[in-house]
């Protein structure tokens, strides 16, 4: 196990139980269960509220972290974020559609359909670059940005034309991302899709290393750009789509985490994937624990918390880039 994997696995091993015990109701793990008056309630809080929430945080964080590392490796750009490439906004658009029609139990399905459409569009536009024509990655980036822009506009349209004020507030709240009141149902939706997505990203790992030397060299080393793009679209689409389907938009994790991890690795894109998944899990778990214990009247949304952390971090990255440190 590499140093980065060890560090973030140990951190996760500490954070996971902590997140189970932290919250509006603090649970003392060392208390004598027989002496606790409401032991049943505590068991309920642990198993039905905090456990699925913590597992979702781990699953979604792992997906976002690994997808971020993969996208930065693919685009050879430390400022790449999986959210920029249309799949998350398309998933959000699908989810918003379910609020719009007032049938929220189909939300995860609509979100996954949205993510699937985003993936299909991206693959159809960018995946057909004729061999040797060049511009594959540029085309992918532009296509992703345009899909994101279109999905964002349609989401804004859906908000402004919401059938009633309640639906509008639900949409806006949901778009900010949260793990509040999530159950095992959401875990069973997100976990298998994320696992498959992570599997695809790990399949792409060696090709991402070859891309370190540019597209032409990678192709000469046997990388099939069309196949790589499809694997990545599938991997990123499943991990991001699954996350958005159960938790809404959670930004910045995919951007920040690879930067936290990179100094602890040999900088090869493949060496970032596992530690980025672990670090992403740690970050989302930590942020979700914080939103639960911060003394606000209503719980702060997870997406807002991560953006509050992420935006200043992004600015710091830009400053480092300006100084030539990146």
């Amino acid at each position: 196990m590499t140093r980065a994997n060890l560090i973030f696995a140990a951190l996760l091993a500490v954070l996971l139980p902590l997140s189970l015990f932290a919250g509006r109701v603090w649970i003392n793990p060392f208390a004598d269960v027989g002496a606790v008056a409401d032991a049943d309630n505590i068991g309920l809080i642990l198993m039905e509220l905090r456990m699925p929430r913590a597992i979702l945080a781990v699953v979604i964080g792992a997906g976002l972290g690994a997808a971020g590392a993969a996208m930065q490796g693919y685009l050879r750009n430390p400022l790449a974020d999986p959210g920029l490439f249309g799949i998350a906004p398309m998933a959000a658009l699908g989810a918003v559609a379910s609020f719009w029609i007032g049938v929220t139990w189909v939300l995860p399905i609509f979100a996954l359909i949205g993510a699937g459409l985003g993936m299909a569009l991206l693959a159809a536009i960018a995946g057909r670059t004729p061999s040797g024509a060049g511009g594959g990655i540029a085309l992918f980036t532009l296509a992703g940005l345009m899909i994101a822009s279109l999905a964002g506009t349609l989401t804004a349209l859906a908000i402004t034309m919401a059938p009633n004020a309640f639906a509008m507030s639900q949409i806006v709240l949901w778009l900010n991302g949260a793990l509040t009141d999530r159950s095992w149902d959401e875990v069973w939706i997100a976990a298998p899709l994320t696992v498959v997505g992570l599997g695809l990203l790990f399949i792409a790992a060696r090709s991402l290393d070859a891309l370190t030397l540019g597209e032409d060299t990678a192709r000469s080393m046997g990388v099939n750009p069309s196949r790589l793009l499809l694997i990545l679209v599938g991997g990123v689409g499943l991990t991001i789509g699954a996350g958005v389907a159960v938790a809404g938009i959670i930004g910045f994790v995919g951007l920040i985490v690879p930067h936290l991890v990179r100094p602890l690795t040999n900088k090869m894109p493949s060496s970032l994937l596992v530690p980025s998944a672990l670090a992403g899990a740690c970050l989302v778990l930590l942020a979700d624990s914080l939103v639960r214990i911060l003394p606000f009247v209503t719980e702060l949304r997870l997406g807002i918390m991560l953006s509050l952390i992420g935006a200043p971090f992004f600015l710091w990255l830009l400053l480092r880039m300006r100084k030539g440190e990146l």
Partner: protein
């Protein structure tokens, strides 16, 4: 293993960049591809490496059309060094050279260490590759190709960023590779290097191969005048030729 192209025609963005080039490249030889800017040298090299789908004709590697060979298999046989290879991440020299094993899917140490030794990069082994000088970078990128132990080395202006001493080292190493049986095809701008060190020369002009053969024939003054539009005369003795320009 032979490498040959037959009426190879390549286009980029609808423009013909290589026009019906037929040639056979010999294993165990250094072939220099020369020509004025925009002659199609780099495109020809990419076509030979199987990186551009021919608009017409084909490239044969051994007895197989290169288009029918799996990219990973092709990469084991052909090591390609592009003109302006980028290095995206701050990886160490050793890890970058080890990428040469990518087509083989292994982490063999011996060929990587051999490439490091040959390119005299022991001192830079742990240096981040993005902090190298132009010459060091060129040597590291070529070492990456060598670590793959390919049958064919196709290098696009590999000497361009090197000082004289490293040019000589690299040329000597290409000769060693050729002696050991590899085929070497290099794009060169320096006609004297081609004249003195190549076994064969291919002269490209406006996408067409206007001549090929032994350096003294392919780089005759009349050929240079036809392709470059410059009157020249070779001076010196064989193996130590220099090109004197006599005007346009």
């Amino acid at each position: 293993m032979k490498l040959a192209c037959d009426t190879l025609t390549l286009s980029r963005g609808g423009e013909l960049v290589v026009n019906r080039v037929t040639s056979r490249f010999e294993a165990g030889h250094i072939t220099a591809v020369v020509g004025p800017n925009g002659a199609g040298k780099s495109s020809l090299l990419q076509g030979l490496a199987g990186l551009i789908e021919p608009a017409h004709g084909n490239v044969m590697l051994g007895d197989q059309d290169i288009a029918s060979i799996l990219p990973a298999t092709r990469a084991k046989h052909i090591g390609y060094l592009p003109q302006n290879a980028e290095i995206a991440w701050d990886v160490s020299v050793r890890n970058l050279i080890a990428l040469g094993r990518h087509p083989h899917g292994d982490a063999a140490v011996a060929p990587v260490e051999a490439a490091i030794n040959v390119m005299q990069l022991e001192r830079l082994r742990d240096t981040p590759a993005t902090r190298l000088s132009g010459g060091e970078r060129a040597r590291v990128l070529l070492a990456r190709v060598l670590a793959g132990t390919p049958n064919w080395i196709l290098a696009d202006e590999p000497l361009a960023a090197l000082d004289l001493a490293h040019q000589v080292t690299l040329i000597d190493h290409f000769k060693t590779c050729a002696k050991e049986g590899a085929g070497v095809v290099i794009v060169l701008h320096d006609l004297a290097l081609a004249m003195n060190h190549a076994d064969r020369v291919v002269v490209m002009h406006k996408g067409r191969m206007i001549t090929r053969g032994a350096p003294r024939n392919a780089l005759a003054s009349d050929v240079i005048e036809k392709a470059w539009g410059v009157k020249t005369r070779w001076i010196g003795v064989p193996g130590q030729r220099a090109l004197a320009t006599l005007g346009m």
